[in-house]
C-alpha cells in the first residue's frame, strides 16, 4: 500500500531537458513542484569530471550512463506477424537514465524542423496530389506552425547557448548559414564551432558540386556563455567524447549545465531521484489525474498527490506510462482506431566511409555536433516528383570523434584480428573518413507501440512492445540520399569508399540513433492524437506531455532535441498563460 505524501501543485515525471525546463518555469510561477526521476542525481564534477569522463570502455562500451534493461526494457519486432522479444542489452538505441536524462549523453546536434515539415500532409497533397501519399503512410500536420514555434526555438537555443550560423534572419538569407532553414528571429547565441580538417575537405567538395555547406548547429558550444538563467557554460575542448558521455567542461548543453543550478536554488522545487513513477493516478471519473505513484530504490511505494501531472520522461517511456495509466485509448493497428502508441517513428540514417589518400585528418579532434552539412535534400527542399518517395535529410561530415576502441577503419579485405589488422588499423586510423545522412522516418499504420502480452518488468507491469520496420519510402529515400552523398565522397578522390544506404529489415542490435518519436502524438483531432496543440491530454486535461519527442506526428530529417526544447517552452507558456487562469481543456 502506497504511503501518501503531502499534495504538490505540480508533479513532473522525469528530470531531463523537458522536466527541468518545465520545473523551472512552473516553480518560477510560485507553484510547489516536485520532479520524480527514475535514475540517480548526476553532477558534472562528481559524475563525469574531465579526469575520467572520456573512459570509452566504461561509458562508450559498457554504457554506464544509460538505462539498464533490468530497470526497464521493451520488446521489439519488425511486423505484426512476429512474436516480439525483449531487448536484453540496449544497442540499437540507448535511452538515458538519471537526472539530465538523454540530454547528458547526447551529441548536442540542435536543429529546427523546416516550416513545411509542420504542415507535411497538406503541403505534399497540394504540391504532388493527395493520391501520391502511400495509403498506409499516416503522416499528419502538426497542430502548431513553424511561425508559432519560432520564438520558442529561439528561447531554447538561448537557454542552451547553441553555436551556429544563421542562414535566414527574419527572411533575409545569410551567407555561410543554412539557406533552407526557416526564418530566425536572431542569430545563434554563440558563433559556429571550429571545423576539423575532414569537415573542411567535405565543405570544399560540396561547394564545388554546387551545394551550400554550413556548420551544424551545436549544443557543444564554441565559447563561454551565460544563459538567460544566469548560468555560465564553458568552451568546448574538442575532446571528441560527447555521445554516450557526460561533458566534464560545462561545455555541452544539458539540464546540468543550463537549468539545474538555477532550478535547485528555488525553495519550492524538490528533486526526488532514484524513484520510478509506476502510474499516473486518476479519480473515479477517469477524467482527472490525482497525482502519481512511485517506487523508491528500497521498494517502498509512495503516492504523490498533485493538481497537475507533467509527463517528461524519455519519449518511449511517456508512451508506456500513458498506456499503463489508462490515459487515452490504446491504438489498434487493425481497426486504425485508438491513439496511444500510434505513429511511432524513428530516423533513417546512412553513411559513406572512405580512406583518403595522403591525408592525416586527426579525426580525434572532434565534437559531437561539429561538422559541415548540406540541406539541399531535406524535407521538401527538392522536387520529389517522379522520385517515388517523400522525405529527406541533411548530410555531411558528421564525424563526432575517433575513440580508440570503436574507431578502427581498415581497408577492405583486412583480416578481423592479428598482426595484419594491427598494422592496417595503425596506418588508416587518421585517414579513415566517415560522412553520413540523417533522414526522416514517416509514420505508418502498422508501426506502433503497445503493451506486450507476455513480458513484464520488475514490478510486474507489461513491457512496451515496439513494432517497426523501414518501409519502401524510407529505403528509396535513403538510397537517393546516399547516392548524393557518395557523389560528394567521390569528389574527395578516396583510395577506397563504401556507401551503405539504409536497408530493411530494421535491426535493433545495430546502433543507428536514439531518435524514437511518436506514440503520444500532438494534433488537432482527438481521433488521431493523444494531446492537443498545447501538449495537453484530450482525455485528462490536468495531464500534459510537454514536448517529449513522443508528441511528434512523424519524424523529420533532423535531430529532435531543438524541437523538443521549443515544445517544452511552448507548453510551459500555455500552462502559465492559459491553464492556470482557467484549469480545464485548452482546446
Amino acid at each position: 500500500m502506497a504511503r501518501k505524501l503531502p499534495r504538490k501543485d505540480v508533479v513532473i515525471v522525469g528530470l531531463g531537458w523537458t522536466g527541468s525546463i518545465l520545473a523551472y518555469e512552473m516553480a518560477k510561477q510560485g507553484l510547489d513542484v516536485v520532479a520524480v526521476e527514475r535514475g540517480p542525481w548526476r553532477d558534472t564534477a562528481t559524475d563525469f569530471p574531465p579526469g575520467y569522463a572520456q573512459d570509452e570502455l566504461r561509458y562508450g562500451v559498457r554504457l554506464d550512463l544509460f538505462l539498464r534493461p533490468d530497470q526497464e526494457t521493451l520488446t521489439v519486432r519488425n511486423n505484426m506477424s512476429q512474436t516480439a522479444q525483449p531487448i536484453r542489452r540496449f544497442s540499437g538505441f540507448l535511452p538515458g537514465n538519471g537526472v539530465g536524462g538523454a540530454g547528458v549523453h547526447w551529441n548536442g546536434q540542435t536543429w529546427r524542423f523546416l516550416p513545411n515539415d509542420f504542415n507535411l500532409r497538406t503541403h505534399l497533397s497540394e504540391r504532388y496530389g493527395a493520391d501520391k501519399i502511400p495509403a498506409d503512410m499516416t503522416i499528419q500536420d502538426w497542430p502548431v506552425t513553424y511561425d508559432e514555434l519560432e520564438p520558442y526555438y529561439d528561447r531554447f537555443e538561448k537557454l542552451a547557448g547553441i553555436s551556429g550560423k544563421a542562414g535566414n534572419l527574419k527572411g533575409v538569407k545569410q551567407a555561410g548559414g543554412n539557406p533552407f532553414e526557416g526564418w530566425r528571429s536572431s542569430e545563434y547565441p554563440t558563433p559556429p564551432l571550429k571545423q576539423n580538417y575532414g569537415s573542411a575537405l567535405f565543405a570544399e567538395a560540396a561547394k564545388k558540386l554546387g551545394y551550400s555547406p554550413f556548420p551544424r548547429p551545436s549544443g557543444n558550444i564554441s565559447e563561454a556563455y551565460t544563459n538567460p538563467l544566469g548560468i555560465r557554460m564553458g568552451q568546448c575542448t574538442y575532446c571528441g567524447f560527447c555521445e554516450r558521455f557526460g561533458c566534464g567542461n560545462y561545455a555541452k548543453a544539458s539540464a546540468q549545465t543550463c537549468v539545474l543550478p538555477a532550478l535547485m536554488r528555488l525553495p519550492n522545487f524538490t528533486a526526488q531521484t532514484d524513484s520510478e513513477v509506476t502510474r499516473i493516478n486518476l479519480d473515479s471519473t477517469g477524467k482527472r489525474a490525482t497525482g502519481v505513484t512511485y517506487v523508491d530504490t528500497s521498494g517502498e511505494e509512495w503516492e504523490q498527490p498533485a493538481d497537475i501531472v507533467l509527463v517528461c520522461a524519455f519519449s518511449l517511456f511517456n508512451v508506456r506510462l500513458m498506456l499503463l495509466s489508462g490515459i487515452g485509448k490504446p491504438y489498434d493497428p487493425v481497426s486504425g482506431k485508438g491513439v496511444v502508441g500510434r505513429n511511432y517513428a524513428y530516423q533513417t540514417t546512412s553513411g559513406v566511409s572512405m580512406i583518403l589518400k595522403d591525408k592525416i585528418l586527426n579525426s580525434f579532434i572532434a565534437t559531437g555536433s561539429g561538422g559541415m552539412m548540406i540541406d539541399e535534400f531535406n524535407g521538401d527542399n527538392f522536387d520529389h516528383k517522379d522520385l517515388g518517395f517523400f522525405g529527406g535529410g541533411y548530410m555531411g561530415s558528421g564525424q563526432t570523434g575517433a575513440r580508440p576502441i570503436t574507431t578502427r577503419p581498415v581497408p577492405k579485405g583486412t583480416p578481423r584480428w592479428g598482426a595484419e589488422w594491427k598494422k592496417a588499423t595503425a596506418e588508416t586510423y587518421s585517414s579513415g573518413f566517415g560522412i553520413s545522412t540523417h533522414g526522416s522516418s514517416y509514420s505508418y499504420r502498422d508501426c506502433y507501440l503497445d503493451l506486450d502480452p507476455t513480458f513484464k518488468d520488475r514490478f510486474g507491469r507489461p513491457l512496451m512492445r515496439m513494432t517497426f520496420d523501414f518501409k519502401d519510402n524510407e529505403i528509396k529515400m535513403s538510397q537517393f540520399l546516399t547516392d548524393r552523398l557518395a557523389e560528394i565522397a567521390r569528389a574527395l578522390d578516396p583510395v577506397e569508399m563504401t556507401a551503405s544506404p539504409r536497408k530493411g529489415p530494421w535491426n535493433s542490435t545495430i546502433y543507428q540513433t536514439t531518435h524514437n518519436t511518436g506514440g503520444t502524438v500532438m494534433g488537432s483531432d482527438p481521433e488521431t492524437s493523444v494531446v492537443n496543440r498545447y501538449c495537453q491530454s484530450w482525455d485528462v486535461p490536468n495531464v500534459f506531455v510537454p514536448g517529449g519527442a513522443s508528441v511528434f506526428p512523424q519524424n523529420h530529417g533532423y535531430n529532435p532535441t531543438g524541437t523538443v526544447g521549443a515544445l517544452a517552452y511552448w507548453t510551459a507558456d500555455a500552462i502559465k498563460d492559459r491553464y492556470l487562469k482557467n484549469p480545464g481543456p485548452l482546446v
Binding site: 564534477a45 562528481t46 574531465p50 563561454a224 544566469g230 555560465r232 557554460m233 564553458g234 560545462y250 538555477a262
Partner: protein, 410 residues
Amino acid sequence: MKQSLASAAVLLLSLMSVASAQDPQSFDRVEKGRYLSVLGDCAGCHTAQGGQPFAGGLALDTPFGKLVAPNITPDRDTGIGNMTDDEFVAALHDGRGRNGKRLYPAMPYPAYTRMSRDDILAMRSYFKTIQPVNNAVESNQLPFPFNIRLAMAFWNWLNFTPGRFQPNPQKSAEWNRGAYLVEGPAHCGTCHTPKTALGGDKTATPLAGATLQGWFAPNITANTHNGIGGWSKDDLVAYLKTGANQYTLASGPMSEAVTHSTSQMTDEDLAAIATYLKDSGVPSDGAKPTPVAASDKVMRVGEAVYKDSCAACHKDNGSGELHLFPKLAGSALVQSNDPTTLAHVVLNGARAASTAGAPTAPAMPSFDWRLKDDQVAAVLTYIRNTWGNAAAPVPASAVATKRTSQARFD
C-alpha cells in the same frame, strides 16, 4: 493650511520613527538586528546543515579539538530564552556567558567586542523573534586540558582586548563603516588573521592569511603579490556579492560566508568593506620571490601533469574561464605563502558558491585518486611559478600531510 498639515504629518511620522527605533519590538529594530545577524554570519555556525535556524549543532574543528555552536533560539531550556539583555551583550563584548561562564573564542567575541551596544541590542531584538527550538547542544567537546573554561581567563589576558570600535577621523565615513564591519560584526580576521600557537590573533599582521579547518584563508591585505592589492574595488564587491569575479570563485569556508553573509549585504556595506580592505593595515611592497626555473625537473613534471589534468579547464596559459574556472595566472591565492588551500582543492575538489548573481556553482573534481603526492606537489609548484607567477615550491611532504590529515576535516 494644507502645507502646515503636511509638515505636521511629517513631524508626526518622524517622531514615530524615533519612537519605533527605541521600541525593541518594532519592525525597524528587528530588521536591523536581522541584518546585523547577516553581517555577523551567525547562521554560519549556529545553524547546522539541514537543521532548524540558529538551533546550533554545527561542529567546529579547532586545532584544540571540537567545539559545537550552541542553540541561540529563544528556547528557555536549551537556547538563550532566559538570558538577560546584559548577559547577551556580555557574551558578545566580553566572551562571558550566563553566570559569567567563559566562552571559547571560536565564538568571535574578540571581534564582536568592537560592535556598539546598540547594534548588539538590535540583534537581541531579532533573536527574540525567531522560532524557539528545543535542542540541547553540548558545546564543549574539547579534550583535557582545553575543556577547562577557566583557561580562557588566561587566554583572554594574553589575546583579548575588549573595547568598542573607534573611528579614525582622518578617514572617510565609508572607510570607517568598512573598518567597523571588517573588525566587528563581519569578523574577517577570525579566519584571515594569522594566529599564535594559542590561537590568538597576531595583531602585527592583521588579515595576512591563516590556516584553519584544512584551508588557507588567504591574505586579504592590499599586498599586490599574494593579497587583494591587484583587485579593484569593483572586483572585491563582485566577489563578496556573487562569490565570483574576473579572477576567481569563492569555495570552501568562504563559499559559506558568501552564501550566508556577504551576498546578502547591502551594496553600500560591500563598497565600504572594499574601501577599507584596499586601504588597511601595513602597506606591502608586493615583492615577488624569484620563480622556480621552468627547466627545473619538478617544473617539467608539473607541466606534464598540468597538460594532462588541468589545462582542459584552466587552459594552457592559466587564464581559466570567467566565472567558471579560476584564473591561475597572476592569482594571489595560487602564490600564497601557504599552499594548504591549493593542496586541498587538488586532492578533494571544491565547489564554488551559488548565489543569485552567479548561480552556476561550478566544481573542481577531486584528484586524490589519480595523482600521487609528488605529482600534486609538482603541479602546484608549476602553477605557482609559471605565467609570471612566483612562489616557493611545494614539497611532496606537505601534500602527504594534507592527504593524511584531511580525514579529520571531511
